[in-house]
C-alpha cells in the first residue's frame, strides 16, 4: 500500500510535467489544427538555455528560490522566443496551405532543431545545473515526500492556473478563444489573428520552458534528443484528454504519468515507452475525440 502511494506520488509528478507540455500541443492544435512536432524541441532548448546561462550567471553556486525563479524566467523567455521564431519563419508562410504540408514542415523543424542541436551542443548528455536543492520533507514509513515533488506539482499547478486566468478572464484570452472558434470570423471582428496565433505559441512555449526547468531538476541529464520521447507522450496525453481542450490536456497528462509509473512499477520498465502508443491506439479505437473533446462533423 505504501509502495502504491509512493508510485501515485511519482506518477503525479511525471503527469504534471506531461500536462504542462501537453498544454502547448493542445493550444496550437486548437488554433491551427497542427501537431506542432517542434514543441518538444522548444522544451529541449529551454533546458539547454539554463545549462548555458548557468555558465555566465553561476546560478547553481547559490541554489535557492531566487536562482530557481531566475531560471524559470530565462527558460520561459528563451522558449517563447524560439516558439515565436518557429511560428514566424516556418508556419506562417504556410497559412492556408494543405494541412499535410504544415505537418511535414513541423516534422522538419523538429528534426532540424534536434540535429543542429547535436551539432552545436554535442550529442553527449550534459548535467542540468541544480538551481534548487532537493530536501527530504516528510517521511511516512516508506513514503518519501521530497521538496522537488512538491515544487513540481506546485509550480505546474500555478502555471496552469495562470494560463486558465489568461485564457478565460482577459480580453486577450477571449480573442484567442475566438480565433480558435473560427479564424475567419475572428478576423472579421477586428481581431489580429496572426498576433493571437503568435501569442498562443508564446504561451505554449512558456509552459514548455517551465516544464524544462522542472524536469531538469528532477532528471538532470539533458541532451539534444531529450524532447522527442517526452514530447510524443505529452502529445498522446493531449489526444487522450481530447485535443484542443485545456482541461483535457491536464487530465490526460496526469493519467499518462500515473499509468506510466504503474506500468514501470508493476509490469516492466522495458515497456514504458510502448505504453503511450498502446494507450493511444486504444483511445482512437474507442473514443477518438478523447475524454473531453468534441467530435466535429465536417460541414458540407
Amino acid at each position: 500500500m505504501e509502495d502504491f502511494l509512493q508510485h501515485v506520488l511519482n506518477g503525479l509528478n511525471l503527469g504534471a510535467i506531461y500536462a504542462l507540455i501537453a498544454l502547448g500541443y493542445t493550444m496550437v492544435y486548437g488554433v491551427l489544427q497542427l501537431i506542432n512536432f517542434a514543441h518538444a524541441e522548444v522544451y529541449m532548448l529551454g533546458a539547454f538555455s539554463i545549462y548555458y546561462s548557468n555558465k555566465w550567471l553561476h546560478l547553481s553556486d547559490h541554489p535557492g528560490w531566487t536562482s530557481f525563479v531566475i531560471s524559470i524566467l530565462i527558460a520561459v523567455m528563451v522558449c517563447s522566443l524560439v516558439g515565436l521564431t518557429i511560428e514566424r519563419l516556418a508556419y506562417r508562410p504556410l497559412r492556408g496551405a494543405p494541412r499535410l504540408n504544415v505537418l511535414i514542415t513541423a516534422i522538419g523543424v523538429s528534426l532540424f532543431l534536434q540535429f543542429s542541436g547535436q551539432a552545436v551542443f554535442g550529442a553527449d548528455p550534459k548535467l542540468f545545473p541544480q538551481v534548487l536543492q532537493d530536501k527530504d520533507l516528510i517521511q511516512f514509513g516508506q513514503i518519501q515526500i521530497r521538496s522537488f515533488d512538491l515544487t513540481i506539482i506546485g509550480v505546474s499547478l500555478a502555471a496552469m492556473a495562470l494560463l486558465h486566468f489568461l485564457i478565460h478572464h482577459t480580453k486577450m484570452g477571449m480573442a484567442i478563444r475566438a480565433v480558435r472558434h473560427s479564424r475567419s470570423s475572428a478576423s472579421l471582428m477586428g481581431i489580429n489573428v496572426d498576433l493571437m496565433i503568435s501569442l498562443v505559441f508564446v504561451l505554449g512555449s512558456s509552459l514548455a520552458g517551465v516544464g524544462a526547468v522542472l524536469v531538469g531538476l528532477k532528471y538532470p541529464k539533458i541532451d539534444p534528443l531529450m524532447g522527442m520521447l517526452i514530447g510524443l507522450k505529452a502529445f498522446v496525453a493531449a489526444v487522450l484528454g481530447g485535443i484542443g481542450s485545456l482541461p483535457g490536456a491536464v487530465v490526460g497528462g496526469l493519467l499518462m504519468g500515473l499509468s506510466e509509473e504503474m506500468v514501470v512499477a508493476y509490469l516492466s520498465s522495458t515497456y514504458r515507452d510502448a505504453l503511450a502508443f498502446g494507450l493511444l491506439i486504444v483511445i482512437l479505437v474507442f473514443r477518438p475525440s478523447g475524454l473531453f473533446g468534441k467530435y466535429e462533423v465536417e460541414k458540407v
Binding site: Q33, L34, I35, A90, P93, L94, A97, P98, R99, L100, N101, V102, L103, I104, T105, I107, G108, V109, S110, L111, F112, Q114, F115, S116, Q118, A119, M228, L232, F235, V236, V239, T270, Y271, D273, A274, A276, F277, G278, L280, I281, L284, V285, P288, E298, V300
Partner: protein, 324 residues
C-alpha cells in the same frame, strides 16, 4: 495471362541486365549501394501510395519494414524451400512471406486509425513503429538488442543485385499499374475530397485501408531485401529516423509521383556517400540537418516536390493512352 508472362519476362530481363551491368562496371562497394538504392526505391514508392496518392500521412514505414525483415530473416534461418542451384529462388519467397506478415500488420494498424483524420494516422503509425521496435528489443529469440546475426543472403553479388532489381522492378510494376487503374483514381479522390468521394460511391475507409495494406506489404518486401543484403538485423536500424528518411524521399520526389520517388530514392541514397568527406572533416552528422532543412524549405518554396504528381510518361507525350 499472356500479358502477365510478358511483364514477368521483361522484369527478369531487366534485373539480369542491371545485375550484369553492375557486375561489369561497378566495384563491390558500388554494387552494395545499388542494392540500397533498390531497397529505398521499394520503400519510397510504397510509402508514396499512402502519403502521396491517398493524402494520408504514415510515419511508421520503418515498423513495417522491420516486420518484413525479421520474418524473412527468421524464415531464411530455419526454412528452405529450394536447395542446390535453385537456392536463389528462396529469396523471393521469403520476401513474399515477409511482405504478407507486414501487410497483416498494416491491416491491424490501418483499420482503427484510417477512420480518423490524416494527422492522427501520423501519430498512430509513429507509435506503431516504436512499439514494434520495443517488442523486437525484448525478443531474445531474435537477438534482442544484440541483433540477429548471420542472416543468409544470396551467395554472389550477381544474384544479389539481380534479386534487388527484381523486387524493386516488381514493386514498381504493381504500384504503377495499380495507380493507373480505377483504384488509383479512387486513391486520388480520397486525397482530394473525402466527402465528395464518399458521395460518389467510393468506400473511402476501405480504400485507405487497401492502400495502406499494399503499402505495408511492400515495406515488408523492402525489409526482407534489407535483411538478406546486410545479413545482420538490429532493432536500431528501424528507428523513427528510418521512417523519416523514407518520408523525405517521398516529399522530395513529389507526393503522388512514383517516378519522383524513384529519383529521390536514388538521390537520397547517394547523398550521404557523397557527403562523407565533409562529414569526416567536420565530425558532425550533417546529413539530418540538411535533410530537415530541405524538408522545411521544400514545403515553403516547392510543396509539390520535384515532380509534383507528374510521372515519367508526361515527359514523353507521344505515348499518351488511357485515363492519364
Amino acid at each position: 495471362m499472356k500479358i502477365l508472362r510478358s511483364a514477368l519476362l521483361w522484369l527478369i530481363l531487366f534485373s539480369l541486365g542491371m545485375a550484369a551491368f553492375s557486375q561489369g562496371i561497378l566495384n563491390p562497394y558500388q554494387q552494395l549501394i545499388l542494392s540500397y538504392i533498390a531497397i529505398n526505391v521499394i520503400l519510397a514508392t510504397s510509402l508514396n501510395l499512402v502519403n502521396g496518392f491517398c493524402g494520408q500521412f504514415s510515419l511508421g514505414h520503418a515498423g513495417f519494414m522491420a516486420v518484413g525483415a525479421y520474418v524473412s530473416a527468421v524464415l531464411s534461418l530455419h526454412f528452405k524451400v529450394f536447395t542446390g542451384s535453385l537456392d536463389f529462388l528462396n529469396f523471393p519467397f521469403y520476401a513474399l512471406a515477409g511482405g504478407s506478415v507486414a501487410a497483416v500488420a498494416g491491416w491491424l494498424v490501418g483499420m482503427p486509425s484510417l477512420k480518423l483524420r490524416g494527422d492522427y494516422l501520423a501519430i498512430v503509425t509513429l507509435g506503431f513503429g516504436e512499439i514494434i521496435r520495443v517488442i523486437l528489443l525484448n525478443m531474445e529469440s531474435v537477438g534482442g538488442a544484440r541483433g540477429l546475426y548471420g542472416v543468409p543472403g544470396p551467395t554472389n553479388f550477381f544474384v544479389g543485385t539481380a534479386l534487388a532489381f527484381f523486387l524493386a522492378g516488381g514493386t514498381w510494376l504493381v504500384l504503377w499499374r495499380l495507380t493507373q487503374s480505377s483504384f488509383g483514381r479512387a486513391f486520388l479522390s480520397v486525397k482530394e475530397d473525402e466527402v465528395a468521394s464518399e458521395c460518389m460511391g467510393v468506400n473511402t475507409t476501405q480504400t485507405k485501408v487497401f492502400a495502406f495494406v499494399v503499402s505495408s506489404f511492400f515495406a515488408g518486401v523492402g525489409g526482407s531485401l534489407f535483411a538478406h543484403t546486410t545479413n545482420y538485423l538490429n532493432p536500431a536500424s528501424f528507428q523513427f529516423m528510418k521512417s523519416v528518411d523514407v518520408v523525405i524521399m517521398v516529399v522530395l520526389g513529389g507526393m503522388g509521383s512514383l517516378t519522383g520517388s524513384v529519383l529521390a530514392a536514388i538521390f537520397v541514397t547517394i547523398l550521404p556517400e557523397a557527403l562523407r568527406p565533409l562529414q569526416e572533416y567536420t565530425g558532425v552528422d550533417l546529413r539530418m540537418v540538411i535533410y530537415s532543412l530541405s524538408l522545411i524549405l521544400l514545403m515553403i518554396l516547392r510543396p509539390q516536390g520535384l515532380l509534383g504528381s507528374r510521372e515519367w510518361n508526361s515527359f514523353f507525350p507521344f505515348k499518351k493512352r488511357g485515363a492519364k
